[in-house]
């Protein structure tokens, strides 16, 4: 094990190097560029033995990964924002074909207006794509989750592609000390990919990505959904195994902090979780009963686990770095659905924050938690609140 002072993009590249993909299809887009650059260096210096394909667009990047996966080889690609949307038709293509591709997405705002800075507008668009979607808090988790992602994706009961999301710039381009596991340890944890039953092979020729009429299509989809649900215990188990081997366990589908007796719980994804944890500590020091729920996976959605955590809380707030125009933040919609299905009656609030790289400060988080505590006390709050707006509305 070595330690390096690297940024989130670098950490993803290190994780990919350790995961030994067969083929990398690379197309640059800010703020993912450092990942594909670093990977090209690893291939050049021989520390990563992979084919590196300079594709001509993001659509082709995922298409190439689909081709790689179709013959049973391990594929990796990375993208962000406009690129993710450009390749959008290929996402359900890959998930329906049950291809265990791992893709890193640098969460970045969507034009228009243009912004290269981070928010979650991009990945929210693709939440229905049939991909497992996870969000990492720091560079260490980014490296670790690339390795876990391959193991989850390639598990026989799962066989689904995984999107690993990093906050653009805030995480992709900020530096921290990261532990880089040894290759032989990673090899033990993540063995070489076994030829999936649905790949093209010379001994038992197959036709892939076929059509299914109205008499059979639904059953294909139900099978896909059932296997997405099967991924839940696999996700939990894989995280525990990773913790046992490498000493870092992330809590599985969700991670909770100080939620046991909390009246107000803040639900976060990605790097803002780190900031929120500090504020929770500060407010707990003042005797306020606040807690933090880190949502690691958005698909499959951990509805049951979330309901279990929230069952005694009086209010819960969701930070959404995205807006589903005409309604509300997307994570908020998902949380509300889980809360309702569990029969819980706590108040829920939506905080739209961090759009196009606008900072979410400790002060902002404190205000969110204050609003949640007020709601817990019965004081009606605006259910959708824009955070840190710079003009009158």
């Amino acid at each position: 094990m070595t330690k390096k002072f690297i940024c989130g993009d670098d950490a993803v590249a290190e994780g990919v190097r350790l995961a030994r993909p067969h083929v990398i299809s690379a197309y640059p887009i800010t703020p993912q560029t450092v990942t594909v650059e670093r990977l090209s260096e690893f291939v050049e210096d021989g520390s990563l033995k992979a084919q590196y394909v300079h594709v001509e667009s993001e659509h082709s990047a995922l298409a190439c990964a689909i081709g790689v996966s179709s013959v049973g080889a391990r594929a990796f690609t990375a993208t962000s924002s406009q690129g993710l949307l450009y390749m959008a038709e290929n996402l359900p293509y890959a998930s329906g074909a049950r291809m265990p591709i791992v893709m890193m997405n640098a969460n970045r705002s969507l034009a228009t207006p243009w912004s290269i800075l981070g928010d979650q507008m991009d990945s929210m668009f693709l939440i229905n794509s049939g991909w497992i979607q996870l969000y990492v808090e720091d560079a260490q988790e980014a490296l670790d989750m690339i390795i876990q992602a391959y193991k989850i994706a390639e598990t026989k009961e799962v066989m689904l592609p995984v999107m690993v999301n990093l906050d653009g710039f805030v995480l992709t381009h900020t530096y921290e000390v990261v532990e880089i596991p040894d290759q032989n340890m990673v090899d033990k944890f993540l063995p070489p990919i076994r030829m999936p039953e649905n790949s093209m092979n010379l001994d038992d020729p197959k036709c892939l990505c076929i059509s299914a009429g109205s008499d059979t299509n639904l059953e294909f989809r139900i099978k896909q959904e059932m296997d997405m649900e099967n991924s839940v215990p696999v996700i939990e188990r894989t995280d525990k195994e990773f913790g046992d081997m490498f000493g870092r366990y992330y809590g599985g589908m969700i991670d909770t902090y100080q939620c046991e007796d909390a009246d107000a719980v803040l639900i976060t994804t990605g790097s803002v979780t780190g900031t929120a944890r500090i504020v929770v500590d500060q407010m707990r020091g003042e005797g306020k009963k606040v807690g933090l729920l880190k949502l690691r996976y958005l698909r499959p959605f951990p509805a049951d686990k979330m309901a279990e955590v929230l069952k005694n809380a009086k209010s819960a707030g969701v930070i959404d770095k995205n807006i589903s125009f005409g309604f509300e933040g997307t994570i908020f919609t998902n949380v509300n659905s889980a809360v309702k299905q569990a029969g819980l009656t706590l108040d829920t609030l939506n905080f739209i924050a961090g759009i196009a790289g606008r900072d979410i400060t400790k002060k902002n988080i404190r205000e969110m938690l204050d609003s949640l505590l007020a709601s817990a006390m019965g004081e009606k709050q605006e259910s959708i609140q824009y955070v840190n707006v710079r003009c009158k509305l």
Partner: protein, 297 residues
């Protein structure tokens, strides 16, 4: 290289039972190519007629490994197949794309250009029936001047399509591709030699084969092969190759058969006036002036 013909071509069918229209020219090209390429072929099919008629669960018409791809992505998926097989150490196979004119010259052009640029070890067939046939006969970049399609109707003001065929063969050649050829199912022995040459090529190869479509062109299905021959004999399609950086015209007729005879057999050209046909002949003659000047060794 053994010259292939009806006698020595394998009897085995690798593409069979498909639901293409009776007399479909494209299915003939794919059928013969697959016989030459063999069972160890990974075939890649973007959205189009061939993928639509061959992969309807559970009726699978290819005996080899085959994958259907998104419309724009055939050359990119094929690149992934090639690189994946290389990384896995799987040898003595080939990867082939069978794309239509729309899937090559329009929506598929970006991925094709990238694949040629990377010199991927694959064979790319453009089976050209001169319109988006699978979706109902709409105009594509390879629809010829004067052709009626459902999005370029012929009427009082326009004679059907008003653009010429995009010059795919020369676009591909301009990439410096190791081997490219134009072909026709009206000249099957020529087509089969070209498939063999593509099979032997190190790097990317491209074959642009014109394939008449009875449904889209509007003619009785039995003349598919003879109509393809007439397209070449009337000079409205040419047989040529690009290899080792040079163009070579395979067939240089002293005289063309009348364009009108070829055109009037098809209802997509039924509306053409004599003036329209003159324009078509003019475009043809301009092309032949240029290729006769430059492509004859």
């Amino acid at each position: 290289m053994e010259k292939l013909n009806a006698k020595n071509l394998t009897n085995e069918e690798l593409f069979y039972g498909h639901k293409a229209c009776g007399g479909c020219g494209e299915s003939l090209a794919v059928r013969l190519a697959m016989k030459i390429l063999g069972q160890r072929t990974f075939s890649v099919h973007p959205a189009g007629c061939m993928s639509a008629v061959s992969f309807n669960y559970p009726h699978m018409c290819f005996t080899n490994n085959a994958i259907v791809t998104p419309f724009a992505a055939s050359a990119a998926v094929a690149s992934g197949v090639v690189e994946g097989l290389k990384a896995l150490g799987i040898e003595n196979t080939q990867t082939v794309v069978f794309a239509g004119d729309g899937g090559t010259a329009d929506i598929g052009l970006q991925a094709l250009s990238g694949a040629i640029d990377r010199n991927e070890q694959l064979i790319y067939f453009c089976t050209d029936n001169e319109a988006y046939m699978n979706t109902g006969i709409q105009k594509s970049g390879l629809t010829p001047y004067g052709s009626k399609t459902t999005t370029s109707p012929a009427g009082k003001n326009l004679p059907g399509a008003i653009t010429k065929k995009k010059n795919m063969f020369e676009i591909v050649a301009a990439h410096g591709i190791p081997y490219a050829a134009t072909a026709s199912i009206g000249y099957l022995e020529d087509f089969m030699i070209k498939v063999q040459k593509a099979k032997e090529t190190k790097g990317t190869s491209f074959i642009h084969v014109m394939v008449p479509c009875p449904t889209g062109w509007g003619y009785p299905s039995e003349i598919t092969v003879s109509l393809a021959k007439e397209a070449v004999d009337s000079g409205l399609w040419y047989l040529a190759e690009y290899e080792n950086g040079e163009f070579n015209l395979n067939r240089n007729p002293k005289e063309f058969t009348p364009a009108k005879d070829y055109l009037k057999k098809q209802s997509r050209f039924k509306h053409l006036t004599d003036d329209d046909i003159k324009i078509i002949e003019q475009y043809r003659d301009e092309t032949w002036r240029r290729i006769r000047k430059n492509w004859i060794r």
